[in-house]
Amino acid sequence: MQPEKFYYDNKIVRNFGIATVVWGIIGMTVGLIIAIQLYHPAMNMGNQYTSFGRVRPLHTNAVIFAFVGNAIFMGVYYSLQRLLKARMFSDLLSNIHFWGWQLIIVSAVITLPLGLTTSHEYAELEWPIDIAITIIWVIFGINMFGTIFKRRERHLYVAIWFYIATFVTIAVLHIVNSIELPVTFWKSYMVFAGVQDALVQWWYGHNAVAFFLTTPYLGMMYYFLPKMANRPIYSYKLSILHFWALIFLYIWAGPHHLLYSTLPGWAQSLGVAFSIMLIAPSWGGMINGLLTLRGAWDKVRDDVVLKFMVVGLTAYGMATFEGPMLSLKQINAIAHFSDWIIAHVHTGALGWNGFLTFAILYWLIPRIYKTELFSKKLASFHFWIGTLGILFYVVPMYWAGFTQSLMLKEFTAEGMLKYPNFLETTLRIIPMHVVRSIGGSMYLLGVIVMAYNLTRTALQGKLVANEAAQAMPLEPVHTIARDSTWHRMLERKPIQFMMLALLVILVGSFVELMPTLTISSNIPTIASVKPYTPLELQGRDLYIREGCSNCHSQTVRPFRSETERYGEYSKAGEFVYDHPFLWGSKRTGPDLARIGGKYGNSWHYNHMMDPRLMSPGSIMPNYDWLLTQTLDTTTTVAKINAMRTLGVPYAPGYEKIANKDLDKQAQGIADNLAKDHIKVKNNKEVIAIIAYLQRLGTDIKANKTANNN
């Protein structure tokens, strides 16, 4: 048999590489802006399109799906071709994938600042974009499996298993978490409500971390680290165990994002137990990576690429040890909703994803341009400023998280809250936020230096767009001996492999999601909880548009420190009409689950105009456009109908009179404001959001009043 000649496609790798760097700089710059907004409200720039609540999702989406996403595709397209000894299946599909993905990112950059959002974290994009993501993801899958089918290497290396698991699991997660009912072209309601919606969202959110930020990067580590160190992976057997254990365990751990919430207790316990077990495969992977460098540590001293890998792997080890610790209820009680979580995710994002991406870029760009890196000194500078940047970022955030949480939980000897005013705790941690933004700037500076270094590298070389290679074609299957072991056989059968991986992730998903989604006794209902009025529903959608849930939670945990501060702890039955749930995951400001009736309408009006009028020193942006913008009531009918379809018991035909009810309630609030000498028309957006805020958490009080009577 003659060896076959073929060419690797380096151009698509280069394109994804450029996109990685460009979106990385954009995403991190946005991150820096919102970090400064948290101590300098003027950085919200006085308009709605750049306010924190709308721009924070832009930062997370840009760094996760644009920076990391493009880096994944860069790494996969480079390593897949070489591990399979084949060019990508179709250049056309590669290009559609590339441009389609960039278009999706651009649509996110446009729609998120416009306030078009589902409010599901890391899944904020509205339904038309969700469909586009599905299509492009399937194209990526076809291209990957097409390449696998025409491969010249029979056995699939462990990196490819991670890519296959990434493909299939992200597909499942994306589809299930995007089950939404379109109301208009840019507005939809989640099909699940309250507790169920929260469970689905955090099953997604947790596993997006697992299968977008972790598994593809582990696959890349298993390919690029042996390449960089020029030695095989420490233990291939460990990598098999690592793979199966990781994908099996990860999928169960989602509920640790919902501890002390109204999620059924058994589901919380299950999430904790599996989170603890996750340490084993995560550290197995890290140890496998670090031990690959055994006997080669002298190389690490000279090779900046390996330095990035070592710090990246160490950050992975720290983040994956910390994660399970954070899932312990006692630790979670302090860490959840605080800056500690921001520190935790940035150890992973800046250290693991960032540094692995930089290592691969520094290794790969000179190779596909057939040249040397332009400046090792600049790369070394990038390494040090990046490492210091991470430290300056995470240390103040840990400090801030501890400080604020402990202040919020502190009681005086008399049994009163020591800091009854939430704002006092916010102001205390501002210095830490300032230092954090300095850390972030250092990290960003490193990336800009890298962009310069890589550009100069590319300019001094010439892209080998099609790299010649040769390999023996595969023998027909019947000529090879029957494999003695099952796993060895599995490594030759990609479709069976994918189905098995799918099965493995579905087991946990099924056990965890199904009981809560199907058995009604898991969500006790409360008779006095009624659907939102049309005005409140519109106000709720404004709350979603402005991204209020990025800073304000809507769930009171059963701690005395919280029931004293906010009121009665939250019950599952209170959220049955919440499509989507709005519990939030961070308390930059106080919880709002029981805000209804706490302040007068005029307080809210003035607070929206300028929060500092009511709370001097507040870091909340002004929402003055709510005072002048007219509420769009043309959508009321569609919204009522959609909610009814989802099971909210609005009476038949109610949509016809809904706007009349809306006007009546709005007039009531306008009249009430007029008593406080605030002149505002009843059709302004601020009226709707006041109506919604005043409703929050009050249904359960109505129950009590009724019982007392």
Binding site: Y157, Q330, E467, Q470, R488
Partner: protein
Amino acid sequence: MFKQFTENISGNQVYLISSLGIFLIFFIVVTVLLIRLRKSHVDYMSDLPLEDSTTNSSKSFES
């Protein structure tokens, strides 16, 4: 420390016990697979990324 977990599970042991069962079976299966792997195959697989099938680079064409 774990008291709160055990208190939570009353009436719902079925979910937790079945999860434990699934977990144990899964790990026993993976362990058996690993033990049965041949060394020659393991060496072959770990060398896959280091193989370089690229021919003389002068034959590559640029665009």
